[in-house]
Symmetry: C2
Subunit: 225 residues, 2 copies
């Protein structure tokens, strides 16, 4: 079965997943039938069920995983190197650009809400994605704290959660309205808020200024923006 796939088999399976993903993005999950997938990928029902014996459910899960992987990939390498304000800006631009290009599609939101209670498999995929995503953002904040560019008085995990929420909400609103302004606002305001955390070394100049970080903690109010 799945254990013994020839090169051709893998290619076919991959073609099905990619094609299905595209259809889901274009026409929604509910609006896409297995026949549609077959037609779009030049395959037949038997092949589809050959690679996904559990049918639609399994295909959906595979596509979800595929899309989830792409989400973080598309933000690399920026997301893994949030060690300077310039990097944060680059990441922000990357995200905005990605979703702008994607337009009315984000498979994440689609899949997320397509599954109410149930489908623990999908739940897992989405939870895993959010978790990794937030982790990377939090790591970025912590690294900035370590280098003194963000004050140490704030809870990196909580900040990351808020930032991720803003990002997700921005995408959601974009999907609903077609406007990307909310996504931009959420990211910009979120990052700006990080810059205002008191206790940071002086903005910009800092450079690779040693590791200090939490020496003073004398919550001097972070000046104006």
């Amino acid at each position: 079965m799945a254990t013994t796939l020839t090169r051709k088999g893998r290619a076919t399976r991959q073609r099905i997943v990619a094609g299905a993903a595209e259809l889901f993005r274009e026409r929604g999950v509910a609006g896409t039938s297995l026949d549609d997938v077959c037609e779009a990928t030049s395959t037949s029902k038997s092949q589809l069920f050959h690679y996904f014996p559990d049918g639609r459910t399994q295909l959906l899960a595979a596509v979800a995983q595929h899309e989830a992987d792409r989400v973080l990939e598309d933000q690399q390498p920026a997301l893994d190197q949030l060690t300077s304000w310039a990097a944060w800006q680059a990441w922000r631009d990357r995200v905005v650009e990605r979703y702008r290009a994607q337009g009315q599609s984000c498979p994440l939101a689609v899949l997320t809400s397509q599954l109410g209670p149930g489908s623990p498999e999908h739940q897992e995929v989405v939870v895993g994605l959010f978790s990794r995503w937030e982790q990377k953002i939090a790591d970025g904040i912590r690294s900035m704290q370590a280098s003194g560019q963000i004050g140490s008085s704030t809870d990196a995990g909580r900040r990351a959660a808020a930032l991720l929420a803003g990002l997700q909400g921005g995408v959601l609103i974009m999907l609903a309205t077609g406007e990307i302004a909310h996504l931009e606002a959420a990211l910009d305001e979120g990052i700006a808020a990080l810059r205002r955390v008191p206790g940071a070394a002086q903005d910009g100049a800092g450079g690779p200024a040693g590791l200090d970080g939490r020496g003073g903690s004398a919550a001097l109010d972070g000046g104006g923006a």
Copy 2:
């Protein structure tokens, strides 16, 4: 037709909308058939099509409008009186409580993503809701600025957009993961950021003063993993 509805007729129509809304919330739009709606509301197909000649589509639109109206209603009167920090906190608590109670349901996200490209009718409902929502938040910020509790140097509209995005994202993540922490973090951080806008009069609203607001310090359960 719809122009001449007797009291009984209106009641039936209302019963259908309310019942359908509940089913959609419980089982999702895709997981609910018109037969389900009929059964749940003790009506028959003919009645359903009597009141919604365009069938499923029209019913969906009616339910969407119904739900959209409820969303803002549920936040009143807090949402219309964001004139003190205490009011902001009350609103925040209201929102969190509402979604906590709702659990895995928010019909908004469901409907939003259920409709990919197409259904301009629904699009309109959602856009209208977001627009009114953001407007009210922005009004709150402006009134705080007018009374000197928030500095005038920030763009109220943009802040409101970011806050709404955070809220929406928090809800989305809650739907996906069951965790409400992101929603809380997004609201708390968003409001805290407002408190840090420079140029405000000293915080005297009654709570514990402090420039940092409830930023990231207090007993906030750990973020991240």
